[in-house]
Amino acid sequence: MLRLFSVFLLAMFFALPAYAQEAEPAPDRSATGGAQTLEDIMRRQQGLEVDNSFRSSNTGNPTGGASPTDQLGTLGGASDPDLWRGLRFDSADITTQIQHPAATVLIQDTGMWWLQFREGPLTKYGFGLVLGTMALLVLFYLIRGRIRIDGEKTGRKILRFKSIERFAHWLLAGSFILLGLTGVISLLGRNFLIPALGPEGFSTIAIGAKWVHNNVSWAFMLAIVMIFVLWVVHNLPHRSDINWLLKGGGIFGGGHPPARKFNAGQKFIFWSVIILGGSISASGLSLLFPFELPMFAATFEKLNQFGIPQLLGLGELNTNLAPHTEMQYAQLWHAIVSFVLFAIVIAHIYIGSVGMEGAYDAMGSGEVEEQWAREHHSLWVEEVKSKEAKAGGSS
């Protein structure tokens, strides 16, 4: 799983500059006097990217026209098309009676890009990632089979997770699965549930899914805080992690590399949940309180300051985002990070259930077979035994 993720990151790292280099030169618009050409219209109709910079700044000059009181005076320096361009590119000076952050945006130009990305690449690659991970796990199971306890079972049990730890884990697990299911209904439900249930049937399910998603999210956020507080000490890097990683966790033979309470693979899961789950929570809060918690313009500004987009060949990111664009970015980020975390968690569910004998007990009863603990977390067992001996000696 670690190896796969590294390949994905590397592929993204090299693919982005390559993508940026493929940008086409600006088309010749001399035939239309600088206005949009048939090619621009056709590209837009085909859903291709159109550089609108030649139009977005062409919004007239309200103070430039001759005064209407003059002889042959005009009605101002901005024509109707200038005004519509101003509306479209969110630069017109709008006053509304509705006091709302998004009320002055009458046309949102990037909305179609968001819709097309949401229904195209996001869905395709998101589900591809999740289903691909499932297929790899099935393949892994067919090749490797269930990881058994190698040695003879002792019949003795060791307490691995306390009640509060198991509670936090299941609160996180239960809410994450529920949020995943309701998220998929919100994202794609209309595509596959309307044909099956009809618009009214889907409407009921969609309203229910939205309610569950919005409100169960608080349990997810609470659980993330709980597991962070409970387990962060055990998930700090340790020199034994290097050996564990070099031996691939002993998954394909090669013995059982020593590990503390959490091995390097589990630490990867932990930090994925904390970082990705934290990011999902942040974008989720932004969606939960529409237009109140925008975060992308500020993030893009920081990234531009550090030169990260420039390094990747993306140029400076646009920091002048309409309120709706903020929400659209939040939705896309929320879904993309959720798909990645879902793929990681599926691997975690596999190894904690059918993939490894004795692993489920750690979160089921909280007690594990001592032999299992010795094979997978030998350093932790030594720690526990040493503490028990000290406690026994002092009493």
């Binding site: 709302h100 009640s163 198991r166 509670f167 936090a168 884990h169 299941w170 609160l171 697990a173 239960g174 809410s175 529920l178 309610w211 569950v212 919005n214 409100n215 169960v216 608080w218 349990a219 609470l222 309180f289 529409p290 089921g364 909280g366």
Partner: protein
């Protein structure tokens, strides 16, 4: 198993509690997107 059921029960309590609290605080869609003269329900 007890912790699993406790966690699921807590999830339900938190969800209903959040919905009620946010509604009482005026964070419902109705309160956020309409004026006093508009009634959605």
């Amino acid at each position: 198993m007890r912790e699993i059921f406790l966690a699921f029960a807590a999830m339900a309590v938190i969800a209903f509690g959040a919905s009620y609290t946010l509604g009482e605080m005026g964070f419902s869609s109705q309160d956020q997107t309409t004026g006093g003269s508009v009634r959605l329900d």
